[in-house]
Amino acid sequence: MTHASVNSGYNKIRLLFVCLCLLVLVFFFLDITIGTISIPVKSVFQILFSKGTDNSAWLYIVQKIRLPKACTAIIVGCGLSVCGLQMQTLFRNPLADPSILGISSGASLGVALVMFYSGSITSLYTIQELGISGSWLIIVAGASGAAMIMLIVIFISARLKDNIVVLIIGVMIATLVTSIISIWQYFSAPEQIKEFLIWTFGSLGGVTGDHLKVLALVVCIGLIISFASSKMLNVLLLGENYARSMGLTVRRARFLIICSTSILAGSITAFCGPISFIGLAVPPLTRSLLNTADHKILIPGCCLMGTSIMLICDVISQITGSQTSLPINIITGLVGAPVVVLIIISRNRSRLV
């Protein structure tokens, strides 16, 4: 009967989910235990679960440095991979990633504006008058930039029937923004350029305390919207013509998807800088592992897979640097690029035509 074979497929997926959850837990503990300062595993467990340790430095490091960083890794892994999944489905392009609409370029624009034009310290003072100070300045700037681009993209997409055109426009926006940032860089002092360059390397470590709370909240909202769009995403797999004929209001679906994508990509970029390859590599990996195209299953699956990969990248970035840790973007690129290549090759081989 049709039911039985479908059910056995579900059982396999359930098993895989359990495995992925375990993997996430293992990597989480690895991430907290490994670092520049070697802290014995037993102490780590003590700090996490029981009273704590006498060594105040260790306490500080685990609680205030490693734990927030690992939590950030989880949030970023979930957010970016689900974002990439949606982009790949909406544009029916296996090489789409969160930056395709130019949202993260928008965030870069906002951050660049602050970094290059606050060279004169007085302007920094005046922004502080507005009540946004310190670290929030960069974040708000990034989020504003992303929001601005999102509005432009939504405006354009509401007027166009064709997804391909939206895609091209997103790419053009991203290129335009990059050019503007390059012009600013050209006229800036080396310190500012270096500061911006460091920002583009991405960093999980700067998100603490209040930042973490806000980021977690925003990403949760984005993930909820994404999950609610599962049905729409499923039917969009057949293409817009069929989706429309099956009752989907394509414009509304596009709007929702672009909204949730922008929230996820924009917020993560504003807090952590641009992090590449997670959104690109994780969805195909999840799709082939879980062997399904149902977004109800894929979205949680991507969350787990993205989290594991992000955590392991963070662990690697700490092992390789001795006194410093390598920027996270470099690691995700080094890990992500071979994965993408492998996926493309294996898909080609399995194609009969």
């Binding site: 499923n234 797999l237 082939s288």
Partner: protein
């Protein structure tokens, strides 16, 4: 729910059915279709172009309609307008009594489903999942399937005979199987009206036949109204209850297939230089022969194919239906050719030994007075000069060599 597995098949020809309680599922009033004008930029303006209209159509449940017409005549535009993708230039389309413009996509999806030409690249979807997507208009916000949904899905899978395929990935199927999957999805959408836009375009002949046959069965057994836009004239004439034919001048001619053929509508639309629609055989003839007329006496399969061969090499054949079968397989064929200028030519007998069995087609040419030459196919040998041909080819070659001018 409109599952009608065991309901009696309504008799199409009964007047009762046609005009009483049944309302058309699809109705158009003075519909004009075409491209809308738009201003390309400040300088250029594209004018609105009417392709066809005004058109008044009706489509009832249980009927299968084929939409035919030459390329560019407006088939695609009509399909898009009827399914709500394109806005008509003027006039209205009604789906189950409601104007299509007033229906939300969700509502429309419960009344009308589409199968398109394009083969969908479907990303790891397996057959079962794709088909179950058809329940989209009926499921909740997460898309969970109820028991009722599952029943319909199972039914559709059996109806299109895909039971063995449900766990396979759609990408691995052949084109024919893929289209069956898309059709099953349309069935699962459980609409009264199914519109198919050139569904057989990428398929090979056996698959085309099986798909069209399947549609024919479905319109009967499931009491669905099916509209197919196609180039398959042959198959369309066989299975359609009604034909809608674009004549190329913006008019849509409707009627039964036989009406359209007999009233020469078909010919007038499709006849071009070098092609001719032959009403007697129901096929298109290419390169109508212009040579001397051969009178052919006989019927059955050998007679049919011999005639085809003769026409291909340029003879015109006039077929008589007298039957003079003398043995089980052989057929009497009298072929006469009247070409005045060839009087006096005679094909000399060869020294070929005669085969023993009388299952072989024998052709003999006999000279008679006057201008008639008889090519007789007999099994007896009496005074006629007999030539034995084992195949039509030999006959043709002999005719070529005979010098009878074509």
């Amino acid at each position: 729910m409109r599952l009608t597995i065991n309901e009696p098949v309504l008799d199409y020809y009964s007047e009762e059915n046609r005009f009483s309680h049944q309302k058309p599922l699809l109705l158009t009033k003075n519909l004009c279709i075409g491209y809308h004008g738009r201003a390309n930029n400040l300088i250029n303006r594209v004018e609105a172009k009417k392709i066809a209209g005004p058109i008044n159509l009706e489509l009832y449940a249980g009927k299968l309609v084929c939409l035919l017409g030459a390329n560019g005549a407006g088939k695609s535009t009509l399909i898009k307008t009827l399914s709500g993708i394109q806005v008509p230039l003027s006039g209205q389309v009604f789906i189950e009594d409601k104007p299509i413009s007033k229906l939300s996509p969700q509502e429309l999806a419960t009344k009308l489903s589409l199968v398109l030409t394009e083969t969908v690249r479907s990303w790891n979807l397996d057959v079962y999942s794709l088909i179950s997507l058809g329940r989209f208009p009926y499921t909740g916000w997460l898309g969970n399937l109820s028991d009722e949904d599952l029943a319909i899905i199972n039914f559709a899978i059996e109806a299109v005979n895909l039971l063995d395929f449900i766990n396979r990935k759609v990408d691995e199927l052949s084109d024919g199987e893929k289209q069956r999957v898309m059709l099953a999805r349309a069935l699962v959408q459980d609409t009264g009206l199914i519109i198919l836009d050139e569904p057989t375009a990428h398929l090979d002949i056996p698959n085309r036949i099986s798909l069209m046959g399947l549609l024919h069965t479905l319109s009967r057994e499931q009491h669905k109204a099916i509209l197919i836009s196609t180039h398959e004239l042959d198959l369309a004439l066989q299975i359609a209850d009604e034909i809608w034919l674009f004549d190329g001048n913006g008019n849509l001619i409707t009627g039964t297939p036989e009406e359209l053929v007999m009233n020469d509508h078909f010919s007038s639309v499709f006849d071009k230089k070098g092609t001719l629609y032959d009403k007697s055989t129901g096929v298109f003839k290419m390169n109508a022969p212009t040579g001397p007329v051969i009178e052919m006496l006989g019927e059955g399969i050998p007679a049919f194919w011999t005639r085809r061969a003769l026409e291909r090499i340029g003879y015109r054949v006039s077929q008589k239906s007298e039957n003079q079968a003398t043995s089980d397989l052989s057929t009497v064929m009298e072929i006469t050719t009247s070409d005045v200028s060839l009087s006096g030519v005679c094909i000399a007998p060869t020294n070929q030994p005669e085969p023993e069995t009388n299952k072989i087609l024998k052709v003999s040419i006999q000279k008679e007075g006057g201008n008639n030459y008889w090519i007789l196919c007999r099994t007896e040998i009496d005074g006629t000069v007999n030539y034995t041909f084992n195949s039509i080819n030999e006959l043709l070659i002999k005719l070529e060599n005979s010098g009878i001018r074509k």
